[in-house]
C-alpha cells in the first residue's frame, strides 16, 4: 500500500502543485482590508529550523510570508489569517497568537480572519493528525518576525536612523535614543513597501520575553460569539434564495436506488422538489453515496418529506455484513500467523521456551464520530463557478474534490470554512460538501444539505473494528522475553482502493510497530481483514485499539507476576534510550526521526509524573481501583491514571482522572488542559458505550439513545492535567488526539483492581453486571 503512506496522496486523483503568482488584488480581496502588507507573489519555503518537522512534506508544504497572513490597517488593527480549521482545539486562536507574539502586536487589537481553502496561497490546510502547532509554531513565528522587521525598517527609513536602533514594542515601533514612536497603523503603508526579509536573517524573540506563548491567559477568539449564539457554524450559513435539502441514501454501503415514489413527499407542506442525487460506486474516497434528495423551504419540511418517500434499494454485495459474524472472523484471523511487519529476535522460539505465556485478545467495535454538528454544507453553483460554505477540516482537499466532481477548474471553486461543530476526523471527508455542490448545480440555486443524526450514524466513515491479540512470554523471574502482537482490522486504505486488506504504514505506525518496550524477541503481525463499509480516521485512529491492547496487557502481566502495574510498566519500557524498531517504514507521524524519536526517557517521565501528582498507590475506598496506562502518539507522550468505583450492581463511576502530557514546546496550556479533559470524556464514552454494529449490511444504531455518549452526570468528577515543561529546543508535538488512547486501558486496569474482572472487549456495556 505504498500509495497511501503519505497522507497527501490520499487527497486526489490529480494534483496541481504549480505555484501560482497571486495578485495583489486577490490578496486584498482575501483579507478584506484596504491597506497594509499586501503585495505580490508568496514565498513558498521550507527553512532550517532548530529542528525539522514533516510540514514541508504535506501537500503544498508551508508558506512563510507576512504578506499572505498579516494585514495592518491604518487604524492599527492587525488582521491575521487562520488557515487551519477550528473544531474545538483552539487552533484559530493559537496560530494567530504566535504571529502576534513575534510581531509584538497587542492581542486586543488583533482580528482573526478565517482563510478560505487555497493551499497554493496558504500552504497545507489539512487540519488533522494533531499537526497544527507542531508544523506551524516556527513558520508562524517567522511570519510574525518578518512583519515586525518590515515595520521596524519602515520606521527607521522615515526617521533616517539605522534599522537596528528601532524596536517594535507592544503595537508601536520605537526609537529609544530619540524617544520617537509610531503606531503600527501609522507605518503600515510604508512597511508594505519593504521587501520581505530573508528567513535566515530573522531574529526571533527570546522565549523569556514572550507575553502570550506558553502562558494560557488568552481566551479563544470565538468565546463571546459562542456564548451569545453568534458563532457561525456550517449549518448557520444562509443565502438569499437558498433551498433546504435532506437526502435519503442507500442504507448499505455500495447499495443503489432501484426505484422511488415521490408523490407523498411532494404533498408535504413546504416540500418543493424531489430529485435523484448522483452516487459513486464503493469505494471511491469521499464521493457521495447518491440517493434521493427532498428540497424544501425549510429543513423541517425536507425531513418530513423524506419520511414520506417510498424507496426501494438494491443492497449489493455488502448486504451480508454482520458484526457478530465478522468479530468471529477477526478473532480467527488473529490466531493464525499474518504478514510480519516488525521482527526482532525470535518470538516464536522464545514463546515456546517461556516459563509462562500471558495471552490477551482484545476487541473493539466500529465507532462513530457523532460530532454535535452533523455533516452539513451550503453550495452555490453558477455556471462553471462554485462557492461552498462548510465545516471542513480539509478546505484545500474539498476544493479539489468539488472541482473534480463538477468538472470545473479548481480556481473556479471557493471553499469558505465555517466553524466546525466538532470534527474528530469525520469532517476530513467532504462528501457532504460534494452533495451540496451537485444539488446546487442541478437546482440552479443555492442549497443547504443537512444530515440528520440518523444519517450521520448510518453513513459515517467509521472507526475500524479490530481484534488485537497479544502473547507475552515470561521467563521464570517474570521478565517479559517475548512479545507477539497480531493486529487485525479493516484498513482506511479500503476507502480509497477496492480490496485493500492490510493496514497502511500510517496505521501500523500507530501503536503496533512503534511499540516501545525493551523486549528481546518481538513479532508484530498484520493478518488480512476485508472491509464492508466506509472506514475512516477517528480521533487518534489505530492508537485506540493498540493502546487498549498493549496497556491492558501490561496490567495482565502485572497480575500474572503479582507486581505493581506502574512498576511493571516501567520495567517493560526499560532503560532510557532512543528506540530503533526493526521496521521498514516506521511512518512516525510523518516526522523526521531525528527531531521526533521514540524516547523512552520521556515516556518514563510522564509515567513518573502522573504517578507522583496523581498519587499512585494511594488508598482508595472499597469497590474503587486505580489503573494506569501510557502511550506515545502523534509524537507526544501521555500517561493517565483513572480511579474507578464499581458498586455491587456493577454501576461504574469515575471519581478522578490524572493525566500527564509531554507535548514538547507548547503555545496555550489552557487549551491543552481542555483537550485532555475532553479526551477523558471521549475515552470514557467509547469504553462504556462505543459500538456501531451491522446487521444485514445496515448500521443498527440510529441516534443518541442507542449510540450513547457520556453525559455530565457520569463524567469524571475531576480531571487533573499536568504538562511536562519543555526543554529549550524540544519540538512541539500533538495535543488534539493523544489524550484518547491511554484512557480506556487505564480504566480497564482500574476496573480489574476494583473488581478482579478483566474486560477485553469494548464496550463495557453490561459486562460488570451480575
Amino acid at each position: 500500500m505504498n500509495f497511501i503512506d503519505n497522507p497527501r496522496k490520499l487527497r486526489g486523483f490529480e494534483k496541481n502543485l504549480k505555484v501560482e503568482k497571486v495578485s495583489r488584488r486577490s490578496i486584498l480581496k482575501g483579507l478584506g482590508v484596504t491597506s497594509g502588507f499586501v503585495l505580490a507573489a508568496p514565498v513558498m519555503t521550507r527553512q532550517a529550523f532548530a529542528y525539522e518537522t514533516g510540514a514541508g512534506k504535506m501537500p503544498h508544504g508551508v508558506v512563510v510570508d507576512p504578506r499572505v497572513f498579516v494585514a495592518v490597517a491604518p487604524d492599527g488593527t492587525v488582521t491575521i489569517l487562520a488557515h487551519r480549521a477550528e473544531m474545538g482545539t483552539g487552533v484559530r486562536t493559537s496560530l494567530p497568537l504566535i504571529v502576534a507574539e513575534e510581531m509584538e502586536a497587542d492581542w486586543s487589537r488583533v482580528k482573526v480572519q478565517q482563510a478560505h481553502g487555497d493551499e497554493v496561497k496558504f500552504g497545507n490546510q489539512d487540519t488533522d493528525g494533531s499537526r497544527s502547532t507542531r508544523h506551524y509554531l516556527i513558520p508562524m513565528r517567522q511570519i510574525g518576525a518578518s512583519a515586525r522587521t518590515m515595520l521596524e525598517q519602515a520606521a527607521a527609513k522615515r526617521w533616517g536612523v539605522p534599522a537596528t536602533e528601532v524596536k517594535a514594542v507592544n503595537h508601536e515601533v520605537v526609537h529609544s535614543a530619540s524617544g520617537r514612536k509610531l503606531g503600527f497603523g501609522e507605518v503600515a503603508a510604508d512597511a508594505a513597501k519593504e521587501s520581505v526579509p530573508s528567513i535566515e536573517g530573522l531574529k526571533l524573540k527570546d522565549p523569556k520575553d514572550f507575553r502570550y506563548l506558553g502562558k494560557g491567559q488568552v481566551g479563544i477568539v470565538d468565546l463571546h460569539d459562542i456564548t451569545t449564539g453568534k458563532a457561525r457554524y456550517g449549518a448557520d450559513v444562509r443565502l438569499p434564495g437558498m433551498k433546504y435539502a435532506v437526502i435519503a441514501r442507500p442504507p448499505v454501503t455500495g447499495g443503489k436506488l432501484t426505484s422511488f415514489d415521490p408523490d407523498a413527499a411532494l404533498k408535504v407542506p413546504g416540500v418543493e422538489k424531489v430529485m435523484q442525487v448522483r452516487g459513486w460506486p464503493w469505494p471511491s474516497k469521499f464521493q457521495p453515496l447518491g440517493g434521493v434528495a427532498v428540497i424544501a423551504r425549510n429543513t423541517g419540511a425536507a425531513i418530513k418529506g423524506r419520511d414520506a418517500l417510498k424507496l426501494v434499494w438494491d443492497d449489493g454485495a455488502n448486504g451480508k455484513y454482520d458484526s457478530v459474524a465478522y468479530r468471529k472472523e477477526l478473532e480467527e484471523a488473529s490466531r493464525k500467523p499474518g504478514l510480519v511487519v516488525r521482527q526482532e529476535g525470535d518470538a516464536d522460539a522464545a514463546l515456546k521456551a517461556a516459563a509462562k505465556v500471558v495471552i490477551g485478545e482484545y476487541y473493539l467495535p466500529h465507532l462513530a464520530h457523532v460530532c454535535m454538528e452533523p455533516p452539513v454544507a451550503v453550495a452555490d453553483v453558477k455556471g462553471d463557478k462554485a462557492e461552498i460554505w462548510a465545516p471542513v477540516q480539509s478546505p484545500g482537499g474539498t476544493r479539489e474534490d468539488v472541482a473534480k466532481t463538477l468538472g470545473i477548474p479548481e480556481g473556479n471553486v471557493t471553499v469558505n470554512v465555517t466553524l466546525l461543530g466538532g470534527g474528530f476526523g469525520r469532517k476530513s471527508k467532504c462528501d457532504f460538501a460534494l452533495e451540496a455542490a451537485l444539488l446546487s448545480k442541478e437546482l440552479g440555486a443555492p442549497v443547504k444539505v443537512q444530515w440528520t443524526r440518523e444519517d450521520d450514524l448510518h453513513h459515517d466513515f467509521l472507526h475500524t473494528v479490530s481484534v488485537e491479540r497479544i502473547e507475552a512470554g515470561l521467563d521464570k523471574d517474570g521478565k517479559v522475553v517475548a512479545w507477539r502482537h497480531r493486529s487485525v482490522a479493516p484498513t482506511i486504505a479500503s476507502t480509497f482502493a477496492a480490496g485493500a486488506k492490510h493496514a497502511a504504514a500510517f496505521e501500523l505506525g500507530m501503536g503496533l510497530v512503534d511499540m516501545p518496550f525493551e523486549i528481546a524477541n518481538i513479532s508484530c503481525e498484520n493478518p488480512e481483514a476485508a472491509a464492508f463499509t466506509r472506514i475512516g480516521w477517528f480521533r487518534s485512529v489505530s492508537n485506540i485499539p493498540r493502546a487498549f491492547a498493549v496497556q491492558s496487557m501490561v496490567g495482565e502481566i502485572a497480575n500474572a507476576t503479582g507486581r505493581d502495574q506502574k512498576e511493571t510498566l516501567l520495567a517493560l519500557i526499560g532503560t532510557p534510550r532512543i528506540v530503533k524498531p526493526a521496521v521498514k517504514d516506521l511512518w512516525n507521524y510523518g516526522e523526521p526521526y531525528d527531531s521526533y524519536p521514540i524516547d523512552t526517557a520521556r515516556l518514563r517521565k510522564v509515567v513518573e509524573l502522573v504517578a507522583e501528582k496523581g498519587e499512585w498507590g494511594r488508598q482508595v475506598p472499597k469497590g474503587h481501583g486505580l489503573g494506569i496506562a501510557v502511550h506515545r502518539s502523534f509524537v507526544s507522550y501521555i500517561a493517565t491514571i483513572v480511579e474507578v468505583a464499581v458498586d455491587d450492581k456493577g454501576k461504574l463511576t469515575v471519581p478522578r482522572v490524572d493525566t500527564a502530557i509531554d507535548c514538547g514546546t507548547y503555545v496555550n496550556p489552557e487549551r491543552i488542559a481542555s483537550q485532555i479533559e475532553g479526551a477523558a470524556i471521549m475515552g470514557l464514552s467509547l469504553a462504556k458505550y462505543g459500538e456501531v454494529s451491522f446487521k444485514d449490511g445496515k448500521v443498527e444504531q440510529k441516534n443518541f439513545d442507542d449510540f450513547q455518549v457520556v453525559r455530565i452526570d457520569e463524567a469524571p468528577l475531576v480531571t487533573n492535567v499536568y504538562i511536562v515543561p519543555p526543554g529549550p529546543d524540544t519540538p512541539p508535538s500533538g495535543v488534539g488526539e493523544p489524550g484518547v488512547p491511554p484512557f480506556a486501558p487505564a480504566l480497564m486496569n482500574a476496573i480489574f483492581a476494583a473488581t478482579g474482572k478483566r474486560i477485553r472487549a469494548l464496550p463495557i456495556g453490561k459486562q460488570l453486571e451480575a
Binding site: D236, M372, V709, D713
Partner: protein, 150 residues
C-alpha cells in the same frame, strides 16, 4: 395563523403547524443560535426557554408555543452578559462550542428555578445536554460560578 413571541418580538407563521420550533427559529426566523443535534430531544443542543421552562425545540411544534414567549440564546441578555454567559467565558468552557447555546439555555432555566443548585442538582439538570468535546467539568464549574455570583 400562529402567533408567537420570540425574544420579545411578535412572529407569525401560516405554514405547517407541526413544523418543529427549531426549524422555524433557524430557517424561517433566521435565529441560528439554536442548534440541531439529534431531532429527538436526546442531546439538548436545541434547548430554548418557553415562558420559564427549558424545552427541546426539535420536538416542540410551532403550534405548541402559539401565544407563548420563546427565549433563544440571542435573546437571553441584550449584551450577552447573563450571569451564565459571563460565567461560561470566565471558565473558558467551550471547545467547538456547538452545544453551548443549548447548555447555556438549560443552565439559565435551572437557575431561574433553583438559584443555588448543589453540584448533584447541576449534574442532574444538565444531564440532557450532550457535549461531545467533553467540556462537562467546566460546564459544572460555570453553572456553579453563575449561581454564586460572577
Amino acid at each position: 395563523m400562529i402567533k408567537v413571541k420570540i425574544n420579545g418580538q411578535e412572529k407569525s407563521w401560516d405554514g405547517d403547524p407541526d413544523l418543529p420550533l427549531l426549524w422555524f427559529l433557524r430557517d424561517e426566523a433566521g435565529l441560528t443560535g439554536t442548534k440541531f443535534g439529534c431531532g429527538q430531544a436526546l442531546c439538548g443542543a436545541c434547548t430554548v426557554i418557553v415562558d420559564k421552562e427549558a424545552v427541546r425545540s426539535c420536538i416542540t411544534s410551532i403550534n405548541d408555543v402559539a401565544g407563548r414567549e420563546v427565549t433563544t440564546i440571542e435573546g437571553l441578555h441584550p449584551d450577552g452578559d447573563h450571569p451564565v454567559q459571563k460565567a461560561w467565558r470566565q471558565v473558558n468552557v467551550p471547545q467547538c462550542g456547538f452545544c453551548q447555546a443549548g447548555q447555556i439555555m438549560q443552565a439559565a432555566a435551572l437557575l431561574m428555578d433553583n438559584p443555588k443548585p448543589s453540584h448533584d442538582q447541576i449534574r442532574e439538570a444538565m444531564s440532557g445536554n450532550i457535549c461531545r468535546c467533553g467540556c462537562y467539568q467546566r460546564i459544572e464549574n460555570a453553572v456553579h460560578l453563575a449561581s454564586t455570583g460572577v
